[in-house]
Amino acid sequence: MKIIVLLKRVPDTEAKILINQDGNGIREDGVKFIINTYDEYGIEEGLRLKEKVGGDSKVTAVCAGPEESTEVIRTALAMGVDDAVHICDPALAKPSPFTIAEVLAKAISEEGFDIIFCGKQGIDDDMAQTQSILAEKLDIPQVNNATVFELADDLSKAVLNRRIEGGDEKVEASLPVIISCEKGLNDPRYASLPGIMKAKKKEIRVKNLADLGFNEAPSSGRSRVLKWLPMPKGGECKMVEAEETVDAVKELARLLREEAKVV
């Protein structure tokens, strides 16, 4: 079984994000980058599937991103992924989901696939579009926000739970399929020291647009990002003070009613 896991290099969840001067990106100095946390669930599920199915099953990571993405790719290899494709081209700086889905579709088709796992969204720009466009380009079903994944014994279809408002939805999909992963699907393994030592010998196939048969970056869809803006500042905080708590509560209620007009 040929398993593809998609990776995105994103700033650490704890990183302090500052917009650059041109408003078209973030300041990367001193920022630690990690594998998109939702993609980690995809990697783990891909590895578990390989361990379960066995035989000549293989997990290949596919990552489109700048040169520095090698580090997160190496982490995936250290977790146990067999090999990786790194799509890297200067023309892909700040790509739209359409562009990325188009090049991923090409690379994934070249690799061959039975099942594709990815995160439900990138934790950096939160667009959550790539997997859906990719499903369309590959003309395969997609199941989003999976929290439980199982493969039928004859390997012909996937049975999944999707977390929806108030409960779970049980879904069946034929293979090949693309599955976007939600928190709770699994507990991703660590990149172990033996895994890291083995990862050194695993292959990362670097491909640029020309290698994938593109003359230029594929069209970017119908929307485009104009500018990135810093988080708007929150309103002033007003402290209610009084000698007796009961008076403070009265004053708070008055402010909520008369000034904030929320009660």
Binding site: E14, T75, Y190, A191, L193, G195, I196, M197, A199
Partner: protein, 391 residues
């Protein structure tokens, strides 16, 4: 409060990709598996035994041991980085790794027979069995040559008698590497099993330091073992001292983890703690303390980094290790005390990391060659004159 490791001189950039990856794994492991429960375990006087197999799976136990014996065959720098992260969690956890790796796996690897290596090393690396190291005795601490534990030849085997003290992991160990003097006064190493008749390892209680580490006595009363339990390649006192050099190397790195932890905690606390209408970090006395801590941390970091590179190129000598252990642990203890002060009353509760580190560092300052002994080792090396009492 999310931990941020100060890296003032950008040493991170000197580490290669795999060094950074394993450091990241170890850091994540400490954040998720050690920090959340360690204060409670420390207070209860418990070692987090359930983490041992996990540490084995991740390759944290004896990582420098070659892959053919179950290790990862990695560099000493990687071993150092693992120690740094473990000790950022707790000195007790790092002590466990040091003992298992440097004091049990290392002597079996260096002085053991092929059969011993194949029998014990893979299980020790996987965390399936635990080891301890018996050198120190109630009346032989800094002066191990004066040990009285004896090994008497008995037919094909040996009979061991004596008592060891301050033995990390003793009561939870499946095997003990025990050092004893033969009838000619030569120090030899033996592998004693937990269930060998005449062997017992009662735990030493009532410690106010390293509370999340098991410390024990080893009692050997006519313990009869076969000849294949002796480590055949030892050379008198030199052999246990080689083990100690390896362990002290890890401690020099571990101290950096403590420095990063207490500095980060003091910095974050003092920026948020308001007194007299301003953050306590805005006061000159606090700033002076923080600057001293940051400078000491940076010094310790550079010493550990360089020590790692010396070890990996084969140029590391015992005196390099002595200087790094002596310096790094000393400044870590001082920094922990300063941080304790900056945290004020909160600095004495286990809600924060600092007091635990501060208490732990008192042990680390004393064990594996006291601060004073390392001073004498360096003094002797620099002057060519020994200041040890009886020489």
């Amino acid at each position: 409060m999310k931990f941020e490791a100060l890296d003032f001189f950008e040493i991170e950039k000197s580490f290669n990709e795999e060094e950074v990856l394993i450091r990241d794994t170890a850091r994540k492991f400490v954040d998720r598996e050690i920090i959340p429960g360690i204060a409670e375990q420390w207070e209860a006087g418990e070692f987090p035994l359930d983490l041992v197999q996990k540490m084995g799976e991740l390759g944290f136990l004896g990582p420098f041991i070659p892959a053919e014996y179950g290790g990862a065959g990695c560099s000493y720098t990687i071993y150092g980085l693992i120690c740094q992260e473990m000790e950022r969690g707790d000195s007790g956890v790092r002590s466990f790794c040091s003992v298992q790796g440097s004091l049990v796996m290392y002597p079996i690897w260096k002085f053991g027979s092929e059969e011993q290596k194949k029998k014990y090393l893979p299980e020790l690396a996987a965390g399936k069995i635990i080891g301890c190291f018996g050198l120190t005795e109630p009346d032989a601490g800094s002066d191990p040559r004066s040990m009285t534990t004896s090994a008497r030849k008995d037919g094909d085997g040996w009979v061991l008698n004596g008592a060891k003290m301050w033995i990390t992991n003793g009561s939870i160990a499946d095997i003990a590497v025990v050092w004893a003097k033969d009838e000619e006064g030569i120090i030899r190493g033996f592998i004693v099993h937990r269930d060998d008749e005449g062997f017992s390892a009662p735990e030493q209680k009532h410690k106010v330091s390293l509370r999340s580490s098991v410390t024990s006595e080893l009692v050997l009363e006519d313990v009869r073992i076969s000849a294949d339990r002796e480590l055949p390649g030892t050379e008198d006192l030199k052999s246990p001292l080689m083990c100690l050099t390896s362990a002290r190397y890890g401690i020099a790195w571990g101290a950096v983890g403590v420095l990063q932890s207490v500095f980060d905690e003091a910095l974050q606390y003092s920026r948020e703690r308001i007194q007299f209408g301003r953050p306590t970090a805005s006061f000159q006395i606090t700033q002076a303390k923080l600057v001293e801590m940051a400078t000491d941390l940076t010094n310790a970091q550079m010493m550990a980094y360089r020590l790692g590179r010396l070890a990996d190129s084969g140029a590391m000598k015992y005196y390099h290790v002595s200087m790094a252990k002596r310096h790094n642990v000393n400044v870590a203890l001082e920094a922990a005390r300063k941080a304790r002060g900056i945290l004020g009353a909160n600095g004495i509760t286990l809600e924060y990391q600092t007091i635990r580190h501060m208490c732990n560092m008192e042990s680390v300052h004393t064990y594996e060659g006291t601060f004073e002994i390392h001073t004498l080792i360096l003094g002797e090396y620099l002057t060519g004159l020994s200041a040890f009492g009886n020489e």
